[in-house]
Amino acid sequence: MTGTRRRSGARVVLLVAALVLLVGVAVVSVGVGAHAIAPAEVVRALLEPNGSSDHLVVRDIRLPRAVLAVGAGAALAVSGVLVQVLSRNPLAEPGVLGVTAGAGFAITVGSALGLTASAAGELLLAVLGAVAAALLVYSVGRGSPLRLVLTGVALSSVLAGVSLGMRLLLPDVFDEYRFWAVGSLAGREQAPNAWPLLVIALGVLGALLLSRQLDAIALGETTAHALGANVARVRLVALVLITALAGAATAVAGPILFVGLIVPHLARRLAGASVPWLTAYAAVLGPVLLVVSDIGSRVLLPTGEVPVAIVTAFLGGPVLVWAVRRYGAAPL
């Protein structure tokens, strides 16, 4: 593979370029909306706010939303990397494996029981749901990558069916669930998101720290043992990180599929076979994808907004087709 021989210098330059791109799209994202604000004005609002309405809009509404998009994008993309490396399955992502569905379902049940009063409670529910789903899917599907995906899809559809039935029985829950059913950043910027964002930051950091050991595991179990990696412990930690990241992202933005699938495919073109670089690129490219999608969600409908999950799928599909055609399915 050419990627493995790519020199670190080139990788650093590419990573910095990706970061610059992220800052650029974030500034554009803060400027775009029902009331457009010029990039120069956005920068001024951030550096020297003068209390004008434009500056208030930037600081109180659009900036938190951009931060949310960055956090959710990083969480989904990094957990996608972890899932793909761990399962050695380029088709795997938290959404495909039912982890996101588990988090969403836990929130539905929780809201039916009145447990979602606080943001921390919501986060806890989402993570618990994600953990339960991950444990179930892993215990049933371990051993074969395809069986893992099959189990995840089966679980997702069971949960989707059950929650649809619940929604028909309990219209109030349905009303609450609609908010979660489509991943969207709209209207969530005002919620207290400090806890989920902190969890995401710690999760991404943890993934970066763990990525060296994952690199060893990616070479195969026997090799990993020979290299001195504790395979069982690394797997456990990776599972914890995956569920925490996917659960936190679902808690702040609802189920957004596809970011975890598409971003690792793109990042692998830049990072080659190195898991640490893969994780770093994913942590930057995931936010880029979600911020761009969030911009799209605000301009695609003449009235109102398209949920961002629809835009990620719309953008992600063609990109994935391109990646598969250009580079093959990139088995791990």
Partner: protein, 340 residues
Amino acid sequence: MSAVVLRRGRFSANVERRTLLLVAVMALAVAGLGLLGLCYGATWASPAKVFEALGGARGGSNVVIREWRLPRVLAGLVFGAALGVAGAIFQNLTRNPMGSPDVIGLDAGAYTGALVAITVLSGTSAQLAFGSVVGGVVAAAAVYLLSLGGGLSGLRLVVIGIAVNATLTAVNSWIVLRAELEVAIAAVGWSAGSLNGVDWADLRIPFAIIAVLLVLLVARSSAVHQAALGDAVAASTGVHLERLRLQMVLIGVGCTATVTAVAGPIAFIALAAPQIGRRLARSPGIPLLPAALTGAVLLQGADLLAQVLLAPVPLPVGVISTAIGGCYLIWLLIKEVRRT
């Protein structure tokens, strides 16, 4: 494994005993579920009454059985079988249990076609059917053309199918969001997949199309079995592989799109039926018949449950098919883990 040779004139078939037994049991299950479906309704009809009605007796309740319940029961049977066959075809072509038509975007494409028919045209049932067949064929063609170059190799086609599926699903949601409220509600209701209210007028043409497709499939089944032995074996026994694959794709797309046109996208039958059928039959090769029968049992059972569960409110059968099919698949996977 012991095998039985069936012979009639110049036709003969070598069938494994287990498969034969399975087919017999499944056929019984289909018949039993069918009878149950004819009995169940707003008022319960005894089996004797059902046979009387099928025999052509006059009277109000007989008309209900013949004109309302019978088409629904037959739709469950035929559509379930069609979905099972379509799933088996695609999973074999892609050599991947994920490669079923609902995963690789054919359902989504058929739905897109139907949505265009609903929102742009006036949305008559003929337009709906035409739109969804065209949508399904276009989606299949797109997946096929995009994955050319690497051949129809499994993983590549499935990944591209998932990508196409995601894009089309996004387009579908976007169309629904843009549409007028009434149109949107109708479209979303249809999207769950339901056999509520189908009658003979809806079914004649779809049944004819599916019958033709299944006859074509049976005619090609020996070539399919040879192809399953590997490309080299197939080519050396005179099977034109590319042509066979194209024919199979067209039959699978035809089955999926026809069902979607009438009942909406009924998820999961096509994914689960071949898997369940293959595991029950434990036969190597291509389990077309077990897949068809399993599909029929699944869809009929799911439709009955959909009617019973929240009676008198009829649930869309798609809701049940996803939940039941998924649970059963998980159970089978658990069993397999224990065995190995």
